[in-house]
């Protein structure tokens, strides 16, 4: 500093001064960023202990180990899906908000998740994705929507007892058929189990239909009832006094693969299939009686886990894309749009032919920023995926942490994964540099 005393009218300070201004930053960048890159390159060539040189062995195992291959596959899914969806949604929202008065409020709402930590976002979405429709809002909405369109008022879970004595047997497709074919004038018993007795507490007791009780000559009678006594006991396959009839069950009489008669059980579980010519019939209860209630989707199961986490990611980042694109949109010359509209272009044509091309640079920036960000995704996967499906949801950044610190303690492999991650972002490094150079010119 002392060398610069006095009014030496030479414009611009001496280069040595730059060193002073740059020193803290360069020191930090050098030690915390440049040195680690070099260190990691060397470390990745050694095994877990750091003592044995393994050459490119660690990189080899990245591409041969099935667990790591899953992480790479997941990263590819992420990179293909997430940035595109975020950018497209951002574009749609940005264009549409131009048409509403409460655009600022809308933007704030969508932008808000940016301020929330990914950990908190993870906790939020663990709650959203809870399997139980009584807890998770996603499945609550799905089941409500589903139930309004198909009212399933049957007996899910009810089934015949699993043994050879049971008169009825469940087929592969869930249909319950009576073992012995029946003839008109006969009565059949169809005992079912698998429901809590309390669920039909208020039903009247089941009545056994006997041929003597007036089963018409052209009819097959019978009873469908819950063959379970609270606390156990009762005679299996017999209608006991405490046992309740199952009302409203559809019963069919089938002969030669054709339904000849259909009826529903009465409150006490009895039914009469009437109008049957003489012959042998199979009595069956169609599967629709037992359709399991729709319980929503298994969001956090192995198949949906990655899409589910990507959903959370979109929730966090769509606002970011929208704000950037909206800013780009405000810079689009209105005259061009007006001119096109006056020429009779539809709104869709204006959007596709003029707005999007003019926005292309912004869209590209948003897209690239998202790709870089997606490659490093860690927190959301770590928090949202339950332990048992984490292998299916795993991504490179998380695997790197797991391998090096999460119990594995294999820092050779960890370094290799870190370098691999670095290599993946190098194209974007070059993209940034070229963009900067172009802008400076």
């Amino acid at each position: 500093m002392t060398e610069r005393k006095g009014p030496r009218a030479r414009l611009g300070p001496s280069p040595t001064l730059a060193v002073l201004f740059l020193l803290p930053a360069l020191l930090l960048l050098g030690v915390w960023m440049v040195y680690p890159v070099i260190y990691s390159i060397f470390r990745s060539l050694y095994d877990a202990t750091g003592e044995r040189f393994v050459g490119l062995g660690n990189y080899g195992s990245i591409f041969t180990d099935s667990a790591t291959l899953t992480t790479i596959r997941n990263n590819i899914i992420w990179v293909v899906v997430a940035p595109l969806v975020v950018t497209v949604l951002g574009l749609i929202f940005a264009v549409l908000t131009e048409r509403i008065r409460w655009a600022t409020a809308f933007k704030l709402v969508l932008f808000m998740p940016m301020a929330v930590s990914l950990l908190a976002a993870g906790v939020i979405f663990r709650l959203v994705y809870e399997q139980d429709p009584d807890k998770g809002v996603a499945n609550a909405v799905l089941t409500t929507v589903h139930d309004t369109f198909s009212a399933g008022q049957g007996y899910p879970g009810a089934r015949p007892r699993e043994n050879d004595q049971s008169p009825a047997v469940a087929q592969q497709d869930g249909t319950v058929t009576v073992r012995q074919p029946a003839r008109p004038g006969q009565a059949v018993l169809i005992p079912l189990v698998g429901l809590p007795p309390d669920s039909v507490k208020d039903a009247p007791p089941a009545t056994a239909v006997a041929p003597a009780d007036g089963v018409a000559a052209d009819a097959i009678g019978g009873t469908v009832w819950l063959d379970v006594v609270r606390g156990g006991g009762g005679t299996v396959n017999q209608v006991d006094p405490q046992e309740k009839g199952l009302a409203g069950i559809t019963v069919e009489a089938v002969s030669d693969g054709q339904v000849k008669a259909t009826t529903e059980t009465a409150a006490d579980g009895t039914f009469h299939l009437t109008g049957l010519p003489a012959g042998s019939y199979t009595v069956r209860l169609p599967q629709s009686n037992f359709a399991a209630p729709f319980n929503g989707l298994t969001w956090l199961g192995p198949t949906l886990i990655t899409p589910a986490i990507i959903g959370a990611y979109i929730w966090v980042w769509a606002g970011f894309a929208m704000v950037l694109i909206a800013a780009g949109l405000s810079a689009v010359p209105r005259d061009a749009l007006e001119a096109a509209r006056i020429d009779g272009a539809t709104e869709w044509q204006v959007f596709r032919r003029i707005t999007v091309p003019l926005l292309a640079p912004v869209l590209l920036v948003v897209f690239v920023t998202m790709v870089i960000n997606v490659l490093k995704v860690f927190d959301l996967v770590f928090i949202i995926a339950p332990g048992s499906v984490q292998p299916q949801a795993n991504v490179i950044a998380l695997e790197m942490w797991r391998v090096s610190f999460g119990g594995g303690n294999n820092q050779g492999m960890g370094s290799a994964l870190a370098i691999f991650l670095l290599v993946l972002v190098v194209p974007f490094m070059i993209f940034n540099i070229r963009r900067f150079r172009r802008d400076e010119r």
């Binding site: 089934r159 699993e162 332990g387 303690n409």
Partner: protein
């Protein structure tokens, strides 16, 4: 939380069987008890003469919530006694992930409580553990059977003190569900399956499996295996001396498939079970009352009580039924090790290994001591008293949790090795051979290192 509790009949039976089976082991142990009760007083006096004013000790364990609060009471007793300041750190589920970077960064906690003996070996190999001082070893020799001492050792060196035991051969059930279905406690596996069918028929899914917590599945396997294949095979499989493709493993997995394979046996089916972690499965049985049984260790009691069930009345436990000829008793435990060579660390370990430390802890709920000099009278209820007896008199057929003895990459890591393979087996229980192949491949990889 757990007040005075009536004795569940099942546990009496369990204790009776365990005691009967262990009479050989007991007679060998008894003189040792006499020996030590005299000298343990000396140990206490020595500890009291060591004030650690101004010394701070950090201890890390995976406990949270009530378990943490109870342990902190023990720590407080140590602080009052020595003047040291002890801070507790929760490691979360994955203790390895907590300690890994701390060890790398040369800044481990003074004492860590490892949930698996397998980790003792691993950290010993990494030279991260400090051998116990003669004072601590003396406490161990006084208070523990050689079997327990062995579990804390690696490469011929004693590193750890087993501070907390778990009794894993239990099946907890909800009395109401059993009453409704007319189900009974089961003495054999076939009985259990029959009763499960009874429960399913009555509309209550018999089992709430905690499939998302892989260790609950390994515990189940271990009980089935120990009972069906016998203790000798169990030891061999533990050390990977027989492969996982062995026919004994086939038998055990086929037995498990009798439960896994029936949709109506599992609450939410296999996919529901795989999303349920421990202790959510306990809540499902006792809180939401959606299922009848949960297969896990003594510590279910704490979670059951939290769900509002009265342990011993609503929530009862039965001994794990016999699958083959052996009455299975599988134990687990947490091992305290020193990661720093500090005076405070050793003093704390000495305290935890002592009769005094064990008895403070024993008075709190949810704890079983492997310390044979901790008098059973200290336990807050009969249930724990009985279980503690079984543990201390570890007999012929009593075995330590197999997965915890294995390298942690195989037996103790979320999403890896045995945890994952058994979860996959739960997903597809028809493929026994495939599951065995995967288990063998993972075991071979982990044991080779």
């Amino acid at each position: 939380m757990m007040r005075k509790l009536p004795i569940p009949i099942a546990l009496l039976a369990l204790a009776a069987v365990a005691c009967g089976g262990n009479s050989g082991g007991n007679s060998g142990g008894e003189p040792a008890v006499g020996q030590t009760s005299a000298s343990s007083g000396g140990g206490d006096a020595a500890a009291a003469a060591k004030p650690l004013d101004g010394v701070t000790i950090e201890v890390a364990a995976k406990w949270t919530g009530d378990e943490q609060a109870n342990f902190e009471q023990v720590l407080k007793a140590f602080q009052d006694k020595t003047g040291a300041t002890v801070t507790y750190a929760s490691t979360g589920e994955d203790t390895g992930a907590f300690l890994g970077p701390r060890i790398q960064g040369n800044n481990p906690p003074d004492v860590a409580i490892l949930p698996q003996p397998g980790l003792v070996q691993q950290y010993a190999d990494e030279n991260a553990l400090k051998p116990l001082t003669p004072e601590v070893q003396a406490q161990i020799d006084q208070n523990y059977t050689p079997y327990w001492k062995e579990l804390g050792s690696a490469n011929g060196q004693v590193y750890g003190v087993l501070v907390k035991a778990a009794h894993k051969s239990l099946i907890w059930y909800r009395q109401q569900a059993f009453d409704d279905a007319g189900a009974q406690e089961a003495a054999t596996w076939d009985d259990l399956v029959k009763n499960a069918q009874l429960l399913a028929d009555s509309g209550t899914p018999p089992f709430a499996l905690c499939g998302a917590s892989g260790w609950t599945l390994t515990d189940l396997f271990e009980n089935v295996y120990l009972s069906s294949a016998g203790p000798e095979n169990y030891d061999k499989l533990s050390k990977h001396e027989i492969p996982w493709t062995d026919p004994t493993v086939t038998t055990a997995l086929e037995k498990m498939a009798q439960i896994f394979g029936k949709k109506e046996f599992l609450l939410g089916g296999a996919s529901g079970a795989l999303q349920t972690d421990f202790p959510t499965c306990v809540t499902q049985v006792y809180g939401q009352k959606k299922a009848a049984m949960v297969i896990e260790a003594d510590f279910v009691a704490g979670a059951a009580a939290q769900s509002g069930a009265k342990v011993g009345e609503d929530a009862k436990a039965m001994a794990f039924p016999k699958v083959g000829d052996t009455e299975p008793v599988v134990l687990g435990g947490d091992i305290a090790v020193a990661l720093k060579d500090s005076k405070g660390a050793m003093a704390l370990l000495e305290f935890l290994a002592s009769k005094e430390g064990g008895e403070i802890w024993a008075k709190l709920p949810g704890y079983l001591s492997p310390n044979r000099n901790v008098s059973p009278d200290n336990y807050p209820n009969e249930l724990t008293k009985q279980l503690a007896q079984t543990i201390i008199s570890a007999g012929e057929a009593v075995r330590y949790d197999m997965s915890d003895l294995a390298p942690s990459a195989f037996g103790g890591t979320d999403g890896k090795g045995e945890w994952k393979d058994l979860q996959d087996f739960l997903r597809d229980p028809s493929d026994v051979k495939g599951a065995q192949k995967k288990l063998e491949a993972d075991a071979a990889k982990a044991f080779k290192k």
